[in-house]
């Protein structure tokens, strides 16, 4: 039977992905959600409140997923990559709303 306990490097990578990647993902999600909500006609405050309520639940999900997913690389790709993509999209959408 092969030894299945993770190396220190993998642990560090997962913790970083869970915290930093998770945070980045949620930042992107909240930003994009808010601007899309405003674009759809919601008042800014209401859109922000709604996204904040969803954001922390999503953060919890991303955080847990980072430790149960099989591939660390995929975790980084989805969380950090997805977060960056959503943040960029949010910035672009904001420009159209100003």
């Amino acid at each position: 039977m092969t030894d299945t306990s993770p190396s220190a490097a993998e642990i560090a990578s997962r913790v970083a992905a869970a915290l930093l990647g998770g945070y980045g993902f949620v930042w992107g999600f909240a930003s994009l959600g808010i601007v899309l909500g405003v674009a759809a006609g919601l008042p800014y405050e209401e859109a922000q409140t709604l996204l904040f309520l969803l954001a922390f639940l999503l953060l919890l999900a991303a955080f847990c997923w980072a430790f149960v997913a099989h591939s660390v690389a995929r975790v980084w790709a989805v969380l950090a990559g997805g977060g960056a993509a959503m943040t960029g999209a949010a910035w672009l959408v904001q420009r159209t709303l100003l």
């Binding site: 299945t4 306990s5 993770p6 993998e10 642990i11 997962r14 915290l19 949620v26 930042w27 909240a30 930003s31 808010i34 601007v35 405003v38 008042p43 800014y44 405050e45 209401e46 859109a47 922000q48 409140t49 709604l50 904040f52 309520l53 954001a55 922390f56 639940l57 953060l59 919890l60 955080f63 847990c64 430790f67 149960v68 943040t87 949010a90 910035w91 904001q94 709303l97 100003l98």
Partner: protein
């Protein structure tokens, strides 16, 4: 991370639970104390031991007090640092607020002053506040530390670590860890309902501690989850400051639009105008609330753009009968007193958010629910503490045999975080009664007593956990339990001696805030003494299991030979 989901979840639960558990103990314990923060304030500041009051007349009392509020010294220092030089001699006042709840004998008044010479931030401002006796208008001396609402309460959400909001971030991380620990705990435990009532104290320590950990985690699972989540959503603007960074242009644009729509001027006009009768505005607000079927008292009063033609007064209803905090705001034009806008019922997300916030901050008037909240909070403490105990119990034999000190370190930190923390909380109460009444910076000395006692407890814990090297129970737990019992009784005695408000008097007079704190202290002393005695028995049993077995063996051998 591991081959199975369950193993990964177990790793997550153990390590994030352990590391952030020390912070979570603080959040849950001081959060529990915060349910009765204002009552603890009464105990700590004898001058405020009178019945809660409603908001007094603005025209006849508050109008004369507000102009006397000065910016706080620490805020001015921080502002000078931000501006990079001296501040203008006169900082114009931007707004005034008054805040009270159904449990407040004294009234909190706040002011914000504009810092006009900050080139980087046109909205830069500093704060000032005073505490007022609403019966007489007397301003309370500044250096009376409200141990409940100004020390225990901020401790639970900021750890009193204000540099770059570090404390808020650590608590936020701990809240996330709590949520993850609850989810992973459910995944690991699985038998949520089948073992809901399972607690077997007679079994070996590891099993009974784990039973208690599972029990305290599951029975209050909704409570633990919602409090951790709402803790995060309440400070969402700190944790996800999108509206003041990347999305600030959009946010500011909409804030101005929203103010316009309500007829509330976003900025002052620089033309002076006197304020109309605020008492008349309060009467109109109360009339409107009653007309909507929700009669009530004023919880929050806000005067914006003080002294300006664009000034407006916002009056919020105290939410004593429901979960949401303050609401049903009515906004009045300052100079004329006419109604500008009455807030409609909230949009869905805002209503849910207000519900979550109100659930966490509990300004409602419901004594049973408050005590049940304390029970929930202490149950959370028990869950975390039994988590530490289980961690140590599972590893101490292995570590003792291998000469490693991991279990000993965790145990010593556990003593510090559990009994040490309670000792610190009691020390500040004792110091509060012992220090001279007119000592300068009295609040600072009280806080020093708190931190000093905690540090001493840590030192004692580090010294008295050597027993872990032989996989025995550390006497530090029992010794600190006795210290808790002694300090709690001392605090009650000192209260009686220094204020004359002993239990027989306060119970007979119905002075429940003070009586309640004294009774809670005595109950804590009794529990701590009981725990100390139980621990003594366990320590002896663990140290000498062979003694009992030897007797049995001799007896059976003799019987066999008979």
């Amino acid at each position: 991370m591991f081959q199975s989901l369950r193993l990964s979840m177990a790793w997550l639960h153990t390590w994030f639970g352990l590391v952030l558990g020390y912070v979570l103990m603080i959040c849950f314990f001081f959060g529990s104390l915060s349910v009765f923060d204002r009552e603890i304030d009464r105990w700590a500041i004898p001058e405020t031991r009178f019945a809660p009051q409603t908001m007094p007349s603005y025209d006849r009392m508050l109008a004369a007090i507000f102009p006397r509020i000065e910016p706080e010294a620490e805020e001015l220092d921080a502002a000078r640092a931000r501006v990079g030089g001296p501040l203008p001699a006169e900082l114009p006042v931007m707004n005034w607020s008054a805040y009270t709840t159904h449990r407040d004998p004294v009234l909190a008044l706040f002011a914000e002053f504009a810092v006009t010479n900050n080139p980087n931030d046109p909205y830069d401002h500093v704060h000032g506040h005073v505490t007022v006796d609403p019966r007489s208008g007397a301003v309370l001396p500044h250096d009376r530390l409200k141990i409940g609402s100004e020390f225990f309460y901020p401790m639970h959400y900021s750890l009193h670590l204000h540099w770059k909001n570090l404390g808020y971030w650590i608590v936020g991380l701990a809240a996330l860890a709590m949520l993850a620990a609850l989810v992973s705990g459910v995944v690991i435990h699985r038998k949520l309902f089948a073992e809901l009532f399972t607690f077997r104290p007679a079994k070996r320590t590891g099993r009974s501690v784990l039973d208690l950990h599972n029990l305290t985690g599951v029975v209050a699972l909704p409570f633990h989850f919602v409090f951790a989540l709402s803790g995060l959503t309440i400070f969402a603007a700190i944790y996800l400051p999108v509206g003041s960074t990347m999305l600030e242009p959009l946010a500011m644009k909409h804030a101005a639009i929203a103010a316009e729509a309500r007829g509330l001027a976003f900025l002052p006009s620089d033309e002076k105008a006197p304020l109309a009768s605020v008492d008349a505005m309060v009467a109109e607000a109360k009339r409107r609330w009653a007309a909507r079927g929700m009669p009530g008292e004023v919880g929050f009063l806000h005067v914006n753009h003080v002294g300006d033609r664009n000034s407006h007064v916002s009056i919020y209803r105290a939410g004593s009968d429901r979960v949401a905090l303050v609401g049903q705001a009515v906004h009045f034009d300052g100079p004329s007193g006419r109604v500008l806008h009455e807030e409609p019922p909230q949009a869905p997300a805002s209503a849910i958010n207000d519900f979550l916030t109100g659930l966490h901050l509990q300004h409602f008037e419901h004594w049973l629910l408050r005590w049940l909240y304390v029970l929930g909070g202490l149950t959370g403490c028990a869950c975390i503490a039994t988590g530490f105990l289980f961690f140590v119990e599972k590893r101490k034999r292995r570590h003792a045999a291998a000469g490693r000190s991991g279990a000993r370190v965790v145990d010593a930190l556990g003593v510090t975080a559990v009994t040490g923390m309670v000792i610190a909380a009691l020390a500040i109460l004792v110091a509060n009664r012992l220090l001279p009444a007119d000592l300068p910076h009295r609040g600072g000395w009280e806080e020093a007593a708190f931190w000093g006692a905690w540090l001493l407890a840590f030192g004692h814990a580090a010294w008295r956990t050597a027993a872990l090297r032989e996989a025995r129970i550390a006497p530090a737990w029992r010794e600190q339990c006795w210290a808790i019992a002694a300090l709690a009784v001392l605090a009650v005695v000192l209260n009686a001696a220094t204020t004359g408000d002993h239990l027989l008097h306060t119970v007979a007079a119905g002075q429940w805030p003070v009586a309640g704190v004294d009774l809670a202290l005595l109950a804590s002393a009794a529990l701590a003494a009981l725990a100390a005695r139980r621990l003594r028995r366990r320590e002896r049993a663990v140290a000498d299991p062979a003694g009992v077995a030897g007797t049995t063996d001799t007896a059976t051998t003799e019987a066999a030979h008979a």
